[in-house]
């Protein structure tokens, strides 16, 4: 066996970590970040900066330590060249996932840190029904600099019956990386993506809007010790409805969904060592509520929320990149199956105050009950790839956990510069285990000091932004 630290962390870094981080991003961040950004219009020149920091989970005890966090910082300049809107963005993105096990003077660490520095240039001709646009990214993904090109076509059909209606099609992506001091075509992704959006004004006080996106991509490449290839599909969409009622009451509801699936294949020195039947991630979110305008600048609202996220995957891994060749000879395969779902119903109360002279503030508090179900099985074949032995089931011990989500969003207008602070914190208040049915405060959230000296923190997101429009 080679050095456990090097080989396993390398693999985890390249594959397990990336896949897991993708799952976390999809399940925790995508529902938060998805918004009706389409269509994007560069009406005026602007300069903006934002930094988004999410500490998903931190745990440290004498036995083990966990750290999962993401940061993304963007500096964006929007301007026009011959009436063509152009956007130049500098991006720094870090995903970090680490697990350490401290045992008898030995520390075993699995670490995944994916860091991306990139410069993105986007442009869009806005004078035609069909709008070609594109982006060129120069970046440094992990240790290797590279470049990517993405071409997009927007189509704006004049269907008045649909109100504002837009379709967007992204069809091409190419990535190069500089390897061994020379630029080489290292990875490409064939992307076929369709996105359509609409906004219907039903009457003066009611509107229905939404969008749907469907995409397919195929990733391939070469020239890396460990790499991933495969084909993926995703669908996502959102609808929202808002309508005015009598006496300054408003009703609103919105729903979002995401579904992604694919067959990743992991390779070592261009030789596959995995067979994944399929990996599927889904996320559904539904909100409905009422809002009352107390005054012209101040409103109160409340409603119900429901979120559901699931993950299914299964297949096999071959151990030859990590084991001696003699073991590899007899076909040292490991099978796995993962099936998990978490359902989170909840209630929400919020209030917003808007002041014309300085900005706005929003405060939200709620209650959520998270009910997870997770089944992880691993086994080895009896006979080449057939049969099952040494089956292991990893049970998930929690029946449910009650969580209080807190959010505060503040926006200041300081001499034309709009400064924003968005902060949120999940606070676990109660957890029930399946077998013993005991209560406790463990889980992500505010710091907990237990008798064993374990410190836990998580569920924290802080976003700072500044925007100046010329």
């Amino acid at each position: 066996m080679r050095s456990d630290n090097i080989s396993w962390s390398h693999v985890f870094y390249r594959f397990g970590g990336n896949l897991f981080v993708r799952f976390l991003r999809v399940t925790f961040l995508v529902p938060v970040l998805l918004s009706f950004t389409f269509p994007s219009v560069f009406a005026q020149s602007s300069l903006s900066f934002s930094t988004d920091n999410t500490l998903l989970y931190h745990e440290k005890s004498s036995r083990q330590a966990w750290d999962i966090w993401f940061t993304e910082s963007k500096l964006n300049a929007g301007f026009q060249i011959r009436k063509i809107p152009v956007s130049l963005t500098l991006i720094h993105q870090t995903d970090y996932l680490s697990f350490s096990n401290f045992q008898q003077n030995q520390t075993f660490t699995l670490e995944n840190k994916s860091e991306l520095f990139s410069t993105e240039l986007t442009f869009q001709w806005d004078r035609f029904k069909i709008q070609p646009s594109g982006s060129l990214t120069f970046g440094n993904n992990s240790t290797k600099p590279g470049a990517a090109l993405l071409l997009t076509v927007n189509i704006n059909p004049a269907f008045s019956v649909f109100g504002e209606t837009k379709f967007r099609h992204r069809a091409y992506s190419h990535t190069w990386q500089v390897d061994d001091s020379k630029p080489e075509f290292s990875q490409w992704a064939a992307i076929t993506e369709f996105k359509g959006g609409f906004l219907w004004h039903l009457n003066s006080g009611s509107a229905l809007s939404g969008w749907f996106q469907q995409g397919k991509s195929k990733i391939s490449g070469h020239n890396q010790t460990f790499r991933e290839q495969g084909s993926y599909q995703n669908q996502e969409g959102k609808f929202s409805f808002r309508s005015g009622l009598a006496k300054s009451w408003f009703i609103q509801s919105d729903g979002r969904f995401y579904s992604g699936q694919g067959q990743p294949e992991w390779l070592y020195k261009n030789f596959p060592f995995s067979g994944i039947e399929s990996g599927k991630v889904t996320s559904h979110l539904f909100n409905a509520g009422l809002t009352k305008d107390i005054t012209e600048n101040w409103n109160l609202g409340g409603g119900v929320t429901y979120r559901e996220m699931s993950l299914q995957s299964g297949g096999l891994l071959q151990s030859f990149p990590f084991t001696p060749a003699v073991i590899a000879l007899i076909g040292d395969y490991y099978f796995f199956s993962i099936d998990g779902i978490i359902r989170i119903p909840g209630l929400n109360l919020e209030t917003t105050y808007k002041a014309d002279n300085w900005g706005s503030a929003r405060f939200s508090i709620g209650w959520q009950r998270a009910r997870p179900k997770l089944k992880i099985q691993t086994w080895e074949p009896l006979f080449f790839l057939i049969g099952r032995k040494n089956e292991r089931n990893t049970p998930f011990s929690y029946q449910y956990a009650d969580i209080i989500p807190l959010e505060i969003d503040i926006s200041w207008n300081v001499n034309g510069v709009i400064i924003g602070l968005d902060a949120s914190q999940l606070i676990p208040v109660h957890a029930v285990k399946k077998a013993a049915k005991t209560s406790g405060g463990s889980g992500s959230g505010a710091p907990v000091k237990s008798n064993s000296g374990k410190t836990v923190w998580g569920g924290t997101e802080v976003k700072l932004s500044a925007l100046y429009t010329f």
Binding site: F271, P272, G315, Q318, F320, A325, I327, L329, L382, I386
Partner: protein
Amino acid sequence: MKKLLALLLIASFGGFWGCSDDPEKEEAKIDPVKTYEQLKTEANTSMETVFASMSQANVTDPVQLGDFDFDSPRKLYEELKSQRPDDKDVRVSLAMCQMLSLYRDPVFKVFLIQLNENGVFSVQNSDIPLSLGFVPFNIGSVLSQEMMINSMSLMIKKGAKNPDDVVLLQTYFLTKIIPQISQSIENFEFVEKSTGFEYQYALTGKMMGFPALPSQYMDNTEFYLMDAYLEYLRSILSMYCMIDFKNSDFTGVDVDSLPPFDPKNPDITPYLFVTQKVKLRSDGLVNGRVFVNGQLNSTRDIISSLLYLQSEYDNQQDDVIKKNPELSNQKIFELILTAQAGLARLEELLGPVLAMLLTYRP
């Protein structure tokens, strides 16, 4: 526990001899109207279903393999083989059914339990744990000869203390188990020795428990390994059929003081001493030769498997055993040299047994 096993053994024999549904004697119910291809599809579906159920249930003991009905597809493949003996798909499927349906045999099950409980499978001199009840076995363990000497030790102890039990086993092995193993070996050898384009046998995703997974393919690398396993198994069972325990006198022989296996200096002399003091069965010389040749053939089959893997030129991405980057031709060559050295040691170790067989006079 021993009494319980003896009862089980006797009950199993009683069941066998009085049994009316012996699969070997029962006529396969084959619909004569079906075409060859229809029958083959039916057989393949039956085999795929059994493999799929095998991939869903966690097997903790080799005896559990008997829960899976390989007799049904075996009967269909036997009929197919009688119609077209040159169909390689059928020969490999039949060979695997014959190999795996051994575990449905009640006596073979009891035999496996006894071997396991007496530590025969507990091979210490190996990189990974070994259980002979599962296939394929560990190459390194076979080359260590530990399992062979452990089996020999157990056989002598059992034969000296309970000769009647071993006589029952000998009869059963010679009439039932060894012929089935020989048929399976013959089917694998037919495919191994065939010429022309490389033959590959598909293991479908359904067989592995994941229907959407693409098929993986077995070729001579795997066939030779299964053949090696069967040769080894036949060798051990034949070793059990060498000595006439009923008419042998073990007076003065302390079978419990036989020395344990020494990986640094494997020595068969203490066991040979015992065999020299006892009588062989009337067919003991034949069975002894099968034992010796089986040990050697098993190692030769492992070498053939490695040679075939080394000679392959396709990209092997869908092969069950792949020539992956960590298993370069140089590493395979080193393994071949190791196996050849093991074969030389085995020939040296078994030389006195052959000499004893050649010079034996009843």
